[in-house]
Symmetry: C2
């Protein structure tokens, strides 16, 4: 029998006012299913506090009543980390109302955003001042600063600029006891003990609720060159990557790869799309070079030089440089359309995995034929961020299968096999999407027991009641007794 | 009455063998006083395990007997973090015998070092392959990889390359229960939960004992230009820093500042030294530009251009570019001799502090006259890493005082005042040297209570017996009860 929560809800309504709390099923519905539609939960209500002080008071209230809290930003996470469980006893805590830019220092290249600021809004705000925020991803129209920090989000610019972790100069978070960890002042050097900020980043709301952050900004891009190259193998793509890093250094902003059949599929799917090169190549690499200010004049030469020397060294079979910004956009559109083109093909299981960069070609060359042999009729596809050792490894169902049946049957077994394989290769079952509820059991099964025990201990220490995003990320098993 | 530790020592001797354990006072003595000579302790014995497995077995043994452990690398820390207390009940655990380079992949630019590898040895090993490790500091002949990681060490290259934290790709550490946290495989992207590696870095051996690490390497420097500029104020130095960042971008490797009277003092102290500029200027900036490979040809022009445009903009009063590598070394020798020149002047209290970069000029302009007015006859000196917002703020005693009496009397009061002031300015009482035992009480008094409580909880969770480097870094006060 569910606990009676009427006293809690009355107190929460008093605390947050009419704009801050709703139990209306129609208003709640869009936020109770994750955006890929894999998980649906229920909630007592949705709270939308307007300030850090309100979040803190609400967390204390939840503590007194033993009410679990599921923090949520744009609800565009990939692993169900922001979706409550079906029990319906948790409070959904939306941070979307806290969407203020608290301060913006263009000279110091820093911005203080509340958790609910949407990534695209952030991009637009800083572009007006000739700056940029160097992290972007498909869900930028809904993803929030708080969610990006809580999942340590990645994207296509990690190669040069790092994941979200690298962009966070300071953080403010409400802890499980309602205290406010306030470390927004960005100190480039600060050795006053454990780096607690790092512990909160990527913890998916299980250790604290991020309410604001100070983010670093970079000068706007003055010039870019987008290149496309055909290479004979993924190992060849890596050789080209090393070459590009040597020639272009910090001007190398992105390096993405896809196999020929994936490109074919995108070209067939995307209206008006054309393959950048005339011929066919086993693998294709998309390379972006950028210059911010001083190096802009030299960029065209750098691009020519990079490709010229790659030809001479026999690293590439064919290549093209986008002749205009329109063509550059068209090159990127091919990369960005891989996922939708694949979805049009039928059901697939998707894996966001990483191994050491230098081992990725061998991993893919092992995993693709292995999966296709083990699961006849399936098609294994690897594409993405080779420069980060992070490949999106998708296995597409054989034609004609029942989507739902396949997802929960063979699809599940395929994922188990992929995760076991990547663990064997000392890789990660989550490179950039996090764990959430989707991969929690896989992490519990395959993760290093020492690391899992540490995580469990830290979680118990900082959230002894277990009310912060329960059931997400942290394995449920108790810590082994110390001997 | 001290506990009888003979059973423990017999078991430890069995475990580690004759090379692995000594109680010889002569062999122990050099390691029982910190290198600045501020702290002297005693120890049961000094253990020197030869492998991670031995460290793990030893930690378990200590756990069974309740013996505290003080890990130590090169014993060149600045805050007494590796010096045992005078009780003498702790085991000194030297990591110096674990000095192997386990693997070195020049192509992937990665090296796996055991904790006892000395920084200078690391530099030399990678230089042979045309690479460099981008962190250096005065104690490089003794500082070890394990100590550098445990204190998150800084130095003069943090501006471009970050502190030790930014160099660590993977880590291996023995935890308090004797389990081995093994995360040496470098994954550029890995979102499998809390970033435990970050928690261990900078924790001064209070959460685990670092036994090995995978470190990132960079291409060797192909060319450098060292510049010296005279500016009218520290605010003017910061304007020059912003200018240099805009013009030089990633080529800017270092930016150090010192006032005229400090330069005078160095020139008077250092045999054969000459001031780089003919005239006198309130402040001096030392700027290093570097190129690794591709940009080498453009570096001389970049240096000229940077200074030329700075003159035009009225940012500098005078400037010089080192005409040779010898002269470049001479410029750096002036910077590196500030501390010895100061020591020759008499006793001083030294503070390694940081505030937000953009506020540092105002901080120094406030703090210097304040200290000199409050402590008549004293001289306040600020110099160092302006680009990191990290200044070494020293207060030199009035001439003729008794050194010991002053250090423990007025000197102590001066430090209290400096730390209170920097905390008021939202800065850090330890920018790069850590907390150790030197600043533990100051941290407890001035630190954010929320952060301190989090630290205490994490410490208790991961080291419930409190045997890992007790009395260092983590405040002793118990965690407040959760309401």
């Amino acid at each position: 029998m569910p606990t009676d929560r009427s006293a809690f809800l009355a107190e929460a309504a008093d605390l947050l006012g009419p704009r801050g709390l709703t139990g209306d099923p129609d208003l709640l519905a869009p936020w109770l299913t994750d955006w890929r539609g894999r998980f649906t939960g229920r909630a007592l209500a949705m709270a939308s506090p307007a300030s850090t002080a309100e979040v803190a008071a609400l967390v204390r209230l939840c503590g007194r009543h033993g009410v679990p809290i599921v923090p949520q930003g744009g609800n565009s996470g990939m692993c169900g980390g922001a979706t409550p469980d079906p029990e319906g006893d948790a409070l959904l805590l939306s941070l979307r109302r806290m969407a203020a830019i608290r301060s913006f220092d263009a000279e110091a290249k820093q911005i203080v955003c509340e958790a609910g600021v949407v990534l695209q809004t952030l991009h637009e705000a800083v572009e007006k001042k000739g700056l940029r925020f160097p992290l972007t991803l498909g869900g930028k129209g809904s993803a929030t600063v708080g969610g990006l920090i809580s999942t340590n989000a990645g994207g296509t610019q990690v190669l040069r600029h790092g994941s979200m972790r690298a962009q966070v100069l300071g953080i403010e978070a409400v802890l499980a006891d309602g205290s406010v960890f306030s470390a927004l002042v960005p100190l480039k050097k600060d050795n006053r003990g454990f780096d607690l900020k790092q512990l909160l980043i990527g913890s998916e709301g299980t250790l604290g609720i991020v309410t604001a952050a100070t983010l670093r900004l970079l000068p706007a891009i003055a010039e870019r060159r987008v290149l496309w190259a055909g290479v004979p193998s993924l190992e060849g793509a890596r050789a080209l990557l090393l070459h590009a890093q040597e020639i272009a250094g910090d001007a190398l902003e992105g390096f993405e790869v896809m196999p020929q059949h994936t490109l074919d599929n995108v070209v067939a799917h995307l209206p008006g799309a054309r393959a950048p090169l005339g011929g066919r190549h086993e693998w294709h690499a998309l390379i972006e070079l950028v210059a911010d200010g001083s190096g802009a004049d030299g960029l065209p030469d750098l691009a020519e030089n990079l490709l010229g020397r790659a030809f001479e060294a026999g690293l590439i079979e064919d290549a093209a440089i986008a002749a205009s910004e329109t063509q550059a956009e068209a090159f990127w559109a091919l990369r960005d359309s891989i996922a939708p083109a694949e979805r049009a093909q039928g059901p697939a299981v998707q894996h966001d995995i990483s191994v050491a960069v230098e081992r990725m070609p061998a991993f893919v060359d092992t995993a693709v034929p292995l999966m296709e042999a083990t699961w006849p009729g399936s098609r294994a596809v690897a594409f993405g961020h080779l420069g980060d050792g992070n490949i999106h490894f998708h296995v597409i169902a054989p034609p004609g299968v029942d989507p739902l049946e396949w997802q929960t049957g063979d699809g599940k077994a395929i994922s188990d096999q992929v995760y076991a394989l990547v663990t064997e290769w000392n890789g990660s079952i989550s490179a950039e999407h996090g764990i959430g509820q989707l991969k929690r059991d896989a992490l519990e099964k395959l993760g290093d027991p020492v690391a899992l025990a540490m995580m469990r201990r830290v979680k118990d220490a900082l959230d002894p009641q277990g009310l912060l995003n329960p059931g997400k990320l942290v394995p449920l098993a108790p810590v082994d007794a110390t001997n």
